[in-house]
């Protein structure tokens, strides 16, 4: 039981890492640019497609990973220049609609290019084994690598934001954009930079997710809505909050699916229990979010904003 528990806990953390990679961009773009970007999930999907296609052609996991990031960056750059830039001065409704329309465009375009049949790819041979963790739990190496990659990105992001000049400008811009602009910082360039870097995190998550799930149209949106929950729980604009939210959502979701049926099964008859638990476990994270918002309407780590 404890072995299973630990394994599911790690699965939860690993899902949390994906959620963090996507949420980080989402929350930065919102915090700094004040833009809600529904099409952020599409960048996750583009990353996954690039990975699967390049991987399929070259047969090299590493090469595909290295090449898919620039693909996502280019896509993000085009999106930023053509659409996102025009949405700065608009209200959230316009942003939601324009980026929703962008999803329609990207999804339909992807379907036209690659069809509706999902793509699959294998875990690379070098990462396909298992590792034995302290306590005797064996766990797939690839998933350990994902957790490691997620933590590395989080650390790098924290260092950039907390310790560098650009990071200082980002923090200042999140609090008061106009003042930073007055001080001679090229906000437009910073916007593009944040958008593209955020997109690359999402693309990285998509590329890494490729071997674990089927690569298909719509994969981004399912994850995106989970990321909204992470971001809302953590506090919009806060990277630290996104991390906390992502891990919480990942663990609660995974644990809910793994253990709620068992627990309910002890009190109810099996048929009722399985029916209720299926609903309950997929709703659990939304319930969690509601509880957080009832007590902290601006999330756990609200970002001070003077607008």
């Amino acid at each position: 039981m404890s072995q299973l528990f630990l394994e599911q806990l790690l699965n939860g953390v690993q899902l949390g890492m994906f959620l963090f990679l996507v949420s980080a961009g989402l929350t930065l773009v919102f915090g700094f640019m004040n833009i809600i970007n529904l099409a952020h999930g599409s960048l996750f999907m583009i990353g996954a497609y690039a990975m699967a296609l390049i991987g399929g052609v070259t047969g090299s996991f590493l090469l595909a990973l290295v090449l898919s990031l620039p693909v996502v960056a280019c896509a993000a750059w085009v999106i930023e220049v053509v659409i996102i830039r025009r949405l700065h001065e608009r209200d959230h409704l316009d942003q939601v609609l324009a980026t929703f329309a962008l999803i329609l465009f990207i999804n339909e375009g992807t379907t036209m290019l690659f069809g509706r049949v999902p793509l699959f790819m294998d875990v690379p041979a070098s990462l396909s084994g298992t590792v034995t963790l302290p306590g005797g739990v064996t766990y797939p190496l690839y998933r350990v690598a994902i957790i490691g990659a997620g933590l590395a990105v989080a650390l790098a992001l924290w260092l950039i934001i907390a310790r560098t000049r650009v990071g200082m400008q980002i923090r200042a811009g999140t609090t008061n954009r106009e003042t930073v602009e007055q001080l001679g910082v090229n906000i437009d360039r910073l916007n593009t930079l944040i958008f593209v870097v955020g997109a690359m995190f999402a693309g990285l998550a998509g590329a890494l997710a490729g071997p674990l799930t089927s690569v298909e149209v719509g994969m981004g949106e399912n994850l995106l809505i989970l990321c909204f929950v992470c971001v809302v729980i953590g506090g919009i604009g806060s990277v630290r909050g996104a991390m906390l939210g992502a891990i919480t959502v990942g663990v609660v979701d995974t644990m809910g699916r793994a253990f709620v049926p068992d627990i309910l099964g002890r009190f109810l008859d099996p048929a009722t229990a399985s029916g209720i638990s299926a609903g309950l476990s997929s709703m659990s994270i939304y319930l969690l979010m509601v509880v957080v918002l009832v007590f902290r309407p601006t999330g756990l780590f609200p970002v001070a904003r003077s607008v």
């Binding site: 809600i36 939601v96 324009a98 329609l104 809302v232």
Partner: protein, 332 residues
């Protein structure tokens, strides 16, 4: 309030909608009656959403959830009537006199709960929390294995029964939906012109100001949220009757997105706008593939959303007044 100037236009539209079945039958295209019914039903939901988005400035991204509550109420009652089983001790029914009022009551209750919690937040948090509530209900419906789970369920007993009116006759059903639409539209017209409507307009402008003159903005927002939820629930109940089929797809988040698109295409902040938007949306859905095929773009006709997306982006960026603004340009 601008709507009041268009009484001739409104009466003209009403006359057209009343005569539509005759015209369609005379021209031998009575299959379009079903599309017309969809228009009327979908328009109820769009108008109700505009009460939130256009009149109160509340960007609700989970409106389709209430469509689902209305539809599943009708569907589940019909299911138990067909199976002759009970739900928490109560029998199912096919009677529209029970099913439709119950659908409205339950969607009001759902909107009350969702609204009471979501309206504690503002701005982008509100968008995300309503989206999440929508997803929550979506997964709830998916998990209802007994009622078809993912696939949804057919209503084997057909549409609801009413005294004097046979809803299974498609023309009667069209008029039944049209009557509900006119009733709801009239109610909304009255609502937005009332004192309450002005409170909503004030909330849209600046809700902090309201508290300083002693108006409880939260309470007003909750009221309009429930009213809009009932509108969507009504549309859901009618839609279930129309298609004789209920499925979680009705509450998918893209459906909420579609509803927002409809409001924007037509012109938000007006009651006529969402109706025009619904008309345009259904028209595009039916005819954009044909137009694209006519232009020799056969590949695009199947993937019409590939063309629709950019059109929508252009509308959002450059034509915010929507179809309404084209038809009734503001002077000055």
């Amino acid at each position: 309030m601008r709507d009041t100037h268009h009484l001739p236009f409104l009466l003209g539209c009403l006359a057209a909608l009343l005569l539509l079945p005759f015209v369609l039958q005379a021209t031998g295209s009575s299959y379009l009656i079903s599309t017309a019914t969809r228009l009327v039903v979908f328009a109820i939901a769009a108008v109700s959403l505009d009460l939130l988005i256009g009149y109160t400035g509340l960007v609700s991204f989970g409106h389709a959830a209430f469509l689902g509550v209305g539809a599943y109420t009708v569907g589940i009652l019909s299911f138990h009537a067909y199976e002759d089983t009970t739900l928490i001790g109560l029998p199912g029914t096919l009677s529209g006199l029970v099913a439709i009022p119950l659908a409205l009551a339950l969607s009001a209750l759902a909107a009350l709960i969702v609204g009471a919690l979501s309206l504690r937040t503002r701005g982008v948090y509100f968008i995300m929390i309503t989206l999440s509530f929508g997803q929550m209900l979506f997964f709830l419906f998916v998990s209802l294995e007994q009622y078809g789970g993912d696939d949804g369920m057919m209503m084997f007993e057909g549409r609801n029964r009413l005294p004097l009116l046979d809803l299974n006759d498609r023309i009667s059903f069209y008029y039944f939906c049209l009557a509900w639409f006119v009733l709801f539209f009239w109610f909304c017209t009255w609502l937005v012109r009332s004192k309450f409507g002005r409170t909503l307009a004030a909330i849209k402008q600046n809700q902090d100001r309201l508290s300083s003159i002693g108006i409880n903005a939260y309470w007003a927002k909750l009221q309009v949220f429930v009213i809009a939820g009932v509108g969507a629930g009504l549309a859901g109940a009618l839609s279930a009757n129309h298609t004789e089929f209920v499925s979680p797809a009705l509450t998918h988040w893209t459906r909420s997105g579609d509803l927002m698109i409809v409001v924007i295409l037509g012109g938000m902040g007006t009651l006529v706008g969402p109706v025009l938007g619904t008309f345009l949306f259904l028209l595009l859905e039916e005819f954009l593939p044909l137009i694209l095929r006519g232009l020799g773009l056969g590949l695009l006709s199947e993937h019409w959303r590939f063309v629709f997306g950019p059109i929508l982006i252009l509308v959002v960026l450059y034509a915010k007044t929507g179809l309404y603004g084209l038809i009734f340009p503001r002077r000055g």
